[in-house]
Amino acid sequence: MLTAQIPANENERLAELDRLELMIAQPDVAFDRVTAELAHVFDVPVSMMSLIGRETCFYKSAFGLPEELDATRTVPRGISMCGHVVHSGQMMVVPAADEVGGAVLRGNAADI
């Protein structure tokens, strides 16, 4: 998978992320309810709310993650699909990450 490019406003974005104090691994009922409900509505096994830090992708809330990943809620930013969303600043629709995304997205952390 191609590593996502760094957005032009990266420093400001990271400063804002830091200020919002969200990169903290603790249960969050409000967000967890949303990810669980989205998984149900869209009939998907996994639903996540990701935050892209300098080096990592942190799943602030997640539903359906494998136990091992659920324990850390963190993957390297380089293998995160969400890094591409942050760079583009737009919604990205990937019908089948392993096929349609091809070289760009194959091998991303969501290949679970």
């Binding site: 967000f31 989205l38 869209f42 998907v44 919604m91 019908p95 679970i112």
Partner: protein
């Protein structure tokens, strides 16, 4: 691995966008809440400090000199209050007392009351009577008082022989509390109403009343928080109610002088079953 291909309709994309926007709103709301909590903590710490400063500015709980004992109680409605009281013992053996009530509550009223103290301390040593004190406070502070800000006040100068001079500026009348079983036990002192302080910096105040006190007699000066205490039925205590409390507590002596004002405030709080809703300052000036 989940390999089930999926299609997402524009409507579903819209739904996802709405959810994402909602999540961001939640994040922003949490940020605002944190900010408000943080600012509130700072304000509370500030107010706690201001409260300590204001208590520090109060005179000792009891002061005595040749021919008198002065005791007081001070209870702000908020963390800090706009009521003021102070006592100044002069070299000639007389004592000067000022009780004032700055309009409003909170920090701005408290700052005005602190300014009154600076003028009081400067003027009390040299004034000839309470009217001069009121005039001095008014002349110095009225020009800087904000729109609508005013203060009621009563000044008392008492000499070692029990002669007391009083002047008031729009303030509730002090109460004379007699000793022993004299009837009536207490009387409001009739003082001609004069304009409250801080309204007109050109006001000249008159000493309206001079009286000779007997040993054991007391003058009680207070702010309206005392007589506007409200009971369960919504009834104000009023001056007559305060007189009843004073007489009852005076009858139950002997007590140390500080105990008397504490007991009176206790009774005021009992009357105001839902709590006092104004600052309260009360001074007892006893001739001995």
């Amino acid at each position: 691995m989940d390999v089930k291909p999926r299609q997402i309709t524009p409507r579903e994309q819209g739904l996802l966008k709405m959810v994402a926007d909602g999540l961001m709103s939640e994040v922003r709301l949490r940020e605002s809440s944190r900010d408000v909590i943080h600012r509130t903590r700072i304000i509370e710490q500030d107010l706690a400090h201001a409260r300590s400063v204001q208590r520090f500015l109060l005179p000792p709980a009891a002061r005595s000199g040749p021919g008198f004992i002065v005791t007081h109680a001070y209870h702000p409605f908020d963390a800090i209050g706009g009521d003021f009281l102070d006592v100044f013992l002069r070299d000639d053996g007389s004592v000067v007392v000022l009780v004032a009530d700055v309009s409003g509550h909170g920090a701005s009223a408290a700052l005005t009351s602190a300014m009154i103290k600076t003028v009081f301390l400067r003027a009390a040593a040299s004034i000839n009577g309470p009217a001069e004190l009121l005039t001095a406070v008014n002349r110095e502070l009225a020009p800087g008082a904000g729109d609508g800000r005013f203060a009621t006040a009563v000044g008392i100068v008492m000499h070692a022989d029990g002669t007391a001079q009083l002047a008031a500026a729009g303030h509730p009348p002090p109460i004379l509390l007699r000793k022993g079983h004299q009837k009536p036990c207490s009387s409001p002192l009739t003082i001609t109403p004069q304009l409250p302080l801080l309204i007109d910096d050109g006001s000249e105040y008159m000493s309206d009343l001079t009286l000779k006190m007997s040993p054991g007699e007391r003058i009680i000066a207070y702010t309206d928080g005392a007589i506007e205490a409200i009971n369960e039925e919504g009834k104000f205590l009023e001056i007559s109610g305060l007189q009843e409390i004073l007489c009852r507590r005076a009858d139950s002596e002997p007590h140390p002088p500080e105990r008397f004002v504490r007991d009176v405030v206790h009774d005021l709080r009992q009357y105001a079953s839902r709590g006092l809703h104004d600052d309260l300052a009360l001074v007892c000036l006893q001739h001995v």
